[in-house]
């Protein structure tokens, strides 16, 4: 079995995995980081979005071995010292979720948006969420949360 080493939420981990192990399964089953959700498992919904070397990717469409040497951040890695990340706090404040299933992916996508573009208009935010599907909210409060979260991240 190949061995893989990567940094997950700041901690280096090494595990033996089968080549076919998906990054989602590696995070959820090997590392017990179950905040990364699996919605569709067919690259459509974005519930599984994590950051690999700072860029948002769908962890259900990546092999764990492809993350060799990479820096991976999951939703569990955002809060610092027990304080919610500004984007998480904004989702809470603006009621950017209902059932919460899509939320980890939404938040990870949103943080990538702010890191990549800085300021973003409502249209740009909606466009950026093309790969994140929510079946509950109608997106309105998600967009509001991201606008507020973006502001908080910059200040």
């Amino acid at each position: 079995m190949p061995s893989v080493t990567m940094t997950v939420n700041g901690q280096q981990v090494t595990r033996d995995v089968e080549g076919r192990t998906l990054l989602t399964d590696f995070l959820r089953q090997d590392l017990a980081l179950t905040g990364t959700h699996v919605g569709c498992d067919t690259s459509q919904c974005g519930a599984c979005v994590v950051h690999v070397d700072g860029k948002s990717v769908k962890a259900c469409t990546m092999l764990a071995v492809q993350a060799e040497g990479a820096e991976v951040t999951t939703i569990e890695g955002l809060a610092q010292n027990g304080e919610l990340h500004p984007m998480q706090a904004a989702f809470k404040e603006h009621h950017g979720l209902q059932c919460g299933f899509c939320t980890p992916g939404m938040v990870m996508s949103a943080v990538d948006l702010v890191n990549t573009k800085g300021e973003a208009s409502e249209t740009e935010i909606r466009d950026w969420l093309e790969g994140n599907i929510c079946r509950c909210t109608g997106y309105h409060n998600i967009v509001k949360a991201i606008q507020a979260g973006a502001k908080a991240m910059r200040s």
Binding site: G19, S43, V57, T61, L63, S109, W128
Partner: protein
Amino acid sequence: MYEFNYHRPASLDAAASALSGAGEGKIVAGGMTLIPTLKQRLAQPSDLIDLSAIADLKGISEDGGSIVIGAMTTHAEVADNATVKAKIPALADLAEGIGDIQVRNRGTIGGSIANADPAADYPGGLVGLGATVRTNKREIAADDFFTGMFETALAEDEIVTAVAFPVPDKAAYAKFANPASRYAIVGVLVSQGAGGVRVAVTGAGPSVFRVTEMEQALASNFSAAAIEGIAVPADGLNSDIHASAEYRAHLVGVMARRAVAAAG
């Protein structure tokens, strides 16, 4: 997914020998098409050869009058690249319109063209701009590269290394996107440059094709009005739940006129 042996060679030569040495070897680039295929057990490669550690395959450079994009360059990198935006904005637009940001962060130009999905955007870009595909064995003109639905001129063990795009005088890409996936229901790239006028259509047929009648009309008068009356026959075009062949034929005209207008 069936189990396979995973390799991550650091050079093109090592990748080529891993590929030819494997029982049933398959290259993985961004994995955006291949991994879903493997998950559905629609393919059973014995070995997966990951190109991501080969630095030579990444990046964008200028070479004379061309922009050369390494096979492992992601759609997001093409969309964001200052040289591409300045020299061939149509290509940056095309890349920006692919799927969603997570797909663009992983998916590569080499993977997209090797896969040759009839609804993919890049085939329209390559043929519409008269690009040349570079492999570890030879150079192939885009016109000869795409040979059919999911079919290319690539040999079993051939690896795309880069694509060279001549810089056009003007060009634009107009796409009628599938609202769910953003794949092209019909996408048309129109360009004018040293090689004349090109009109390439992706999404509509089994494989990308050129519309010579429009190219000739535009060569003498580069305006949307010049191609107003040119209809593309529906025979042989794709028909599925998203659009009938007749609707696609109609869209080819609409997208071509939009592209010409946008190219200016």
